[in-house]
């Protein structure tokens, strides 16, 4: 049976949860409330006065074609980052799981990129693909391909996706590898005796058994793509060319802190809050049903 702790009074339990409530309050509820409040005003450029506009900021945003384009950019970007960080991770984990000798070394080497901070990773990739001095772009030039992510939308998107996903492959690899190790050997052997070859076994037995891990990583990676890729985008493209890599979070920054339109920026934060909340609800209500625990 589960062991439940019961308290007699109110004071002790309250004191015990207080630190967590305090942290949530200071770092989440207060800023979120401020953002909602601010999204109803337009401050003047010097910050000396502000005018109440009701839902005006939201109305303006939803009719702004750049803002709507940013939605699409975010959808493409986060889908790609999630895919590019999860599929190779799974593949590497499956291969590492098959190794008998040297699995430890292999695993350690694969985990290293996770130690690299996103902004540093961004700079690293930027160097390699720099249109003038980059190693990779030079080789591409030799092959007759003119790489220029400063001007080309698709190349810019590709570069920020790869730079964002790269470090995450390590993280996802770790989880997939651990999950693979916990798939019972005898189940795999039973499938082998039933006539399933390696990849058949993988798709019909292993992958379904990994689904709790896959689901967890899906949620975590989508949130990562939404919020934690700012550093990569800022260092590589700064949202360009022509907003081609401006995801919602980047636009909050660009409009608020660069463009000084704090009202709109606050409204964008509120929308982002709703979008991510909705996305998480959808993931848990619909995708989780397909998970076998």
């Amino acid at each position: 049976m589960e062991k439940r702790v019961t308290f007699k009074g109110w004071l002790l339990p309250l004191a015990l949860v207080f630190p967590q409530i305090l942290i949530s309050g200071v770092f989440f509820f207060y800023p979120a409330g401020q953002a909602i409040w601010q999204s109803l005003f337009i401050p003047d450029p010097f910050g000396l006065s502000s005018q109440f506009v009701g839902l005006g900021n939201f109305e303006y945003l939803l009719s702004d074609k750049y803002y709507r384009a940013s939605f699409l950019t975010t959808a493409i970007f986060s889908t790609l980052v999630t895919l590019v960080s999860m599929v190779p991770a799974l593949f590497l984990a499956v291969m590492a799981d098959r190794l008998v000798k040297g699995a430890g070394t292999y695993r350690t080497l694969l985990i290293w990129p996770y130690a690299v901070a996103p902004a540093v990773a961004g700079v690293l990739w930027l160097f390699m693909f720099n249109t003038r001095v980059g190693v990779v772009s030079w080789y591409l030039g030799q092959l007759g391909y003119d790489w220029n992510h400063v001007l080309n939308d698709g190349e810019a998107m590709g570069l920020v996706v790869v730079a964002s996903a790269w470090g995450r492959i390590s993280y996802n690899f770790l989880f997939f590898f651990a999950a693979l190790q916990s798939v019972p050997r005898s189940v795999i052997e039973a499938a082998a005796i039933d006539g399933a070859r390696f990849w058949t076994r993988f798709f019909t037995i292993v992958l379904p058994l990994l689904s709790p891990t896959t689901f967890f990583l899906l949620v975590v990676n989508v949130v990562y793509a939404f919020f934690e890729t700012f550093g990569v985008i800022h260092t590589i493209t700064s949202g360009g060319p022509q907003q081609a890599t401006t995801i919602l979070v980047y636009k909050v920054f660009a409009d608020g802190f660069v463009g000084q339109d704090l009202g709109s920026s606050a409204a964008q934060s509120v929308i982002l809050l709703v979008v991510v909340g909705a996305l998480t609800v959808v993931q848990f209500r619909y995708v989780e049903k397909k998970v076998h625990y």
Partner: protein
């Protein structure tokens, strides 16, 4: 329908020899039980037949064809695992149909075969349940069903009953045996339970330390154990052993007791006497100082030491023997045909 042959089969893990060469011919439809204590290599032997372990030396043949290099799926075998190894995300129906689906058997035929197996195993009400919604016995049946639907040439069982409670184990034991004789499929069955071995086997392999101590029918092994190990492993409670000296059809025990025996051997011997073969006889040559009585209902076990000797000895008597606790002495005799003699050095039977 198949014969299986093991020819000098050996297994090494690195430099450690696990199986030291097993030879056996298994006839079509035979039920062979591989029995032995933990770590004797019995599961490894079975997994080698299945193709889950490589064969270091020797040859395994199924239907006269060498299968050493064949993948498990190409050997025409089915295996029931100790933990059942059901696919947890699939229903009972899908579990049983999995192998057939992979073999690209037409859907209607798969359905027919699964329905047939489900009926045979009384699994019909559970076909759409997941394994975790089943009891241990039902899971066991699903594992059996998965093996049956493919109509393999050979069934392999790896301690399939060891996760069940005692009562269910007895029931499933009978079910497996009935099923096998109904289907007539050659079977290899690994267990550490000598009762399972005795009740299920056409023939059994008693294994110890990677060596086949004896291969024979259950009664052969019981009545004429080839080695001391086989003698002690088969039979419950296990056979008593006493060091003695044999000469001219008589054997002398350390306490001075003299028993008649059938062997003409002379010299030092290990004497084996099964607990159930002693007879209460006030004039008998053996005297047991009883220290503990275990009344089991149908039989009573008397534990103690032989008079004038340090050897622990157990006697099993029919019916209820009410004896007061504490030390008292009981006199026994043992018929000559129930005295087993083994060479103390080689542990082989002396006859």
């Amino acid at each position: 329908m198949a014969t299986v042959a093991l020819k000098g089969v050996k297994k090494r893990f690195g430099t450690v020899d696990v199986i030291h060469g097993i030879d056996m011919e298994i006839a079509d439809g035979e039920f062979i039980v591989i029995v032995g204590p933990s770590g004797c290599g019995k599961s490894t032997l079975l997994r080698m037949v299945a193709g889950l372990e490589t064969i270091s030396e020797g040859e395994i043949q199924i239907n006269g064809l060498r299968v050493n290099e064949k993948e498990p799926m190409d050997r025409d075998i089915a295996m029931v695992f100790q933990n059942y190894a059901l696919y947890p995300h699939m229903s009972v129906r899908q579990n049983m149909a999995y192998g057939l689906k992979i073999a690209r058997i037409p859907k209607p035929e798969i359905e027919r075969k699964v329905a047939e197996a489900a009926k045979l195993l009384q699994l019909e009400p559970y076909l759409d349940r997941k394994p975790r919604e089943l009891s241990g016995g039902q899971r066991q049946r699903v594992a059996m069903g998965r093996a049956i639907v493919r109509q393999p040439a050979v069934f392999l069982f790896d301690e399939p009953l060891s996760n069940l409670d005692a009562k269910l184990r007895v029931q499933m034991r009978l079910e497996i045996r009935e099923l096998q004789s109904k289907l007539g499929i050659t079977s290899l069955y690994v267990t550490h339970d000598q009762v399972e071995a005795m009740t299920m086997a056409n023939r059994m392999i008693v294994m110890n330390g990677g060596v086949a101590e004896q291969i024979g029918t259950p009664l052969e092994v019981y009545e004429r154990p080839r080695t001391l190990f086989a003698a002690q492993f088969i039979g419950s409670p296990s056979m008593n052993t006493v060091q003695g000296t044999a000469a001219d059809g008589m054997v002398t025990l350390p306490g001075g007791a003299v028993l008649p025996c059938r062997s003409r051997h002379s010299g030092p011997v290990t004497v084996g006497i099964r607990p159930e073969h002693v007879h209460v006889d006030p004039n008998g040559p053996l005297a047991l100082d009883v220290t503990l009585t275990e009344p089991l209902g149908a039989t009573t076990l008397l534990h103690g030491k032989l008079k004038n000797g340090a050897e622990l000895f157990t006697a099993s008597l029919q019916g209820v023997h009410t004896t007061e606790q504490g030390t008292h002495s009981v006199q026994f005799s043992v018929p000559a045909e129930d005295i087993h003699l083994f060479d103390p050095a080689t542990t082989l039977r002396l006859d």
